[in-house]
Amino acid sequence: MNVPVPDPSADDAILNVDGISVWLAGREVLHDVRFRIMPGEFTGLIGSNGAGKTTLFRVILGLQTSSTGSVLVGGRPLTHRNPIIGYVPQKVFFDPDMPLRARDVVGLGLDGHRLGIPLDWGRRRQAVDAMLDAVDARRFADARVGNLSGGEQQRVLIAHALISRPRLLLLDEPLANLDIGAEGEVVALLARIAREQRIAVFISAHDVNPLLPVMDRLVYVAAGKTASGTTAEVIRAEVLSALYGQHVDVLRVHGRILVVAGAEGPPGVTFEETDGVAAGPGVVSL
């Protein structure tokens, strides 16, 4: 029988996911997921679309119950409302006709869950301006948010999540639909936030490459199972082959990483690639 060895760092972890399994509609979406995130760490959650990334986020946010395992946030069990966590969801559609400025969105991050009308206008405005400065979004503070570019909207959403001073920032595919320039800017901004404010950043992405320069650790999800560690520890043929349940190769080309189904893969596996998106186990290109 295995006696678990107490790990001194477990108490300091800002997020401790321990053996989470989630069943949705009779299917096991996540299986025995376990990893830990320390304060100020930049962690990537890497996996193809449908691998279970959003479900894992929903568990951490307390919006989805798991059938087994536990999640500790800041050393405490999950509650319905966790002020320690800031969240940037994947799809926020800002209607260009909506009368809503960037600063209004950020302001709602401060107190959008409270009832009544905000009365301390002066202090609120100061806090919003400071936050907009921090994410370099002050210049479009008064622009209609629906008219901003994808990268600008992403900054506004990050400010919205950060203004309540969380210690863990979850971002669901914030780089999807951004051009390469905006992608690099958002990653650099997040890395700076993690480093300077010691906020743990946990970011999901289907492509590992934009995060390689800044990522401390990563959690790789495939078919509901996860492997975690540093890039060198996880992005290896043996680890990923075990995860996918079939042979995959890891290629490093000009500092970029490509994960491809190996020659020993089962017949009938198609190499399918949609703008760098991994389409499923065995056909991953990262």
């Binding site: 969801p89 009368p99 959008g112 869950h113 008064d142």
Partner: protein, 267 residues
């Protein structure tokens, strides 16, 4: 134009415009125009039922409007929101048709609810209208921030402990309350156009939510005042002018903003 019974008309129309302007802002923001259509129209069936059993049509309107709002909220949680709204609407209208078939002699009074009786508002109806109006605006002030947050990012709201369903139900009840109050005055059709036209116009003309609410109320006021005045002078129905003005404001605002954007893009 301002003498005798017309004074009540001006007061009532002003109250209705303020409520419709404020409630309409949130209706347009949440993309809930269909709900704003369904609740007042369905409530009309309740008025028919009230007349049939001999009680104040306002009671029937209220019961159906609130019942419809709760039904849409409850069904919308379990299926598609638009389908729930449509089913609530046809169910209430169907009941209305049934009630009307039993009470032919009162049909005229009920049909007037469709177009309102803005030119014949009795003094004792002004106070209830004002009271319900204050209740609507107070409720929206309380719900303001969670309503805004759930409108733009419902998952974020949920993650921050906002019960989005309760906020949605609260909002639907406000629409029901507003419908009950305004339908007897401006009628079902006008209530709908007064909630959508001014708010949508204001939204495309200004960027900040607070300014948009204020502008929405001003446009709604301008609409009913202008419609009343022109209707009085020409003896044509108020409804025609309210409906037309709503469309004209919005169309005009779109053309104006498109031209302005075109100029900035080319210049």
């Amino acid at each position: 134009m301002f003498s005798g019974f017309m004074v009540n008309t001006w007061i009532a129309a002003t109250l209705v415009a303020v409520i419709a302007g404020v409630v309409g802002f949130f209706v347009v923001l949440r993309g809930a125009a269909f709900v704003a259509h369904a609740i007042p129209h369905g409530a009309f069936g309740g008025a028919a039922g009230a007349v049939l059993i001999g009680v104040n049509p306002l009671a029937g309107l209220g019961v159906f409007a609130v019942g419809g709002a709760l039904g849409i909220g409850w069904l919308g949680r379990r299926g598609r929101h638009d389908v729930a709204t449509a089913l609530a609407l046809v169910l209430m209208l169907g009941l209305g048709a049934l009630f009307l078939s039993f009470s032919v002699e009162y049909a005229a009074a009920i049909y007037s609810l469709l177009f309102g009786e803005v030119l014949g508002v009795p003094s004792d109806e002004l106070l209830p209208i004002a009271g319900l109006g204050v209740a609507c605006i107070a409720a929206l002030a309380v719900l303001y921030r969670p309503l805004m947050l759930t409108s733009i990012a419902p998952e974020v709201a949920e993650a921050r402990g906002v019960r989005a369903q309760r906020i949605e139900t609260g909002f639907l009840l406000v629409v029901a309350l507003a419908a009950t109050m305004t339908v007897p005055v401006v009628g079902v059709l006008l209530m709908f156009s007064l909630m959508i036209g001014p708010a949508a116009t204001a939204g495309s003309l200004t960027r900040s939510p607070r300014n948009a609410i204020a502008l929405s109320v001003l446009i709604a006021l301008a609409t009913v005042w202008l419609a009343l005045a022109v209707s009085y002078l020409t003896n044509l129905p108020v409804g025609f002018f309210v409906g037309t003005l709503g469309a004209v404001w919005y169309g005009g605002a779109r053309i104006w903003t498109a031209r302005r954007r075109g100029r900035t893009a080319s210049g």
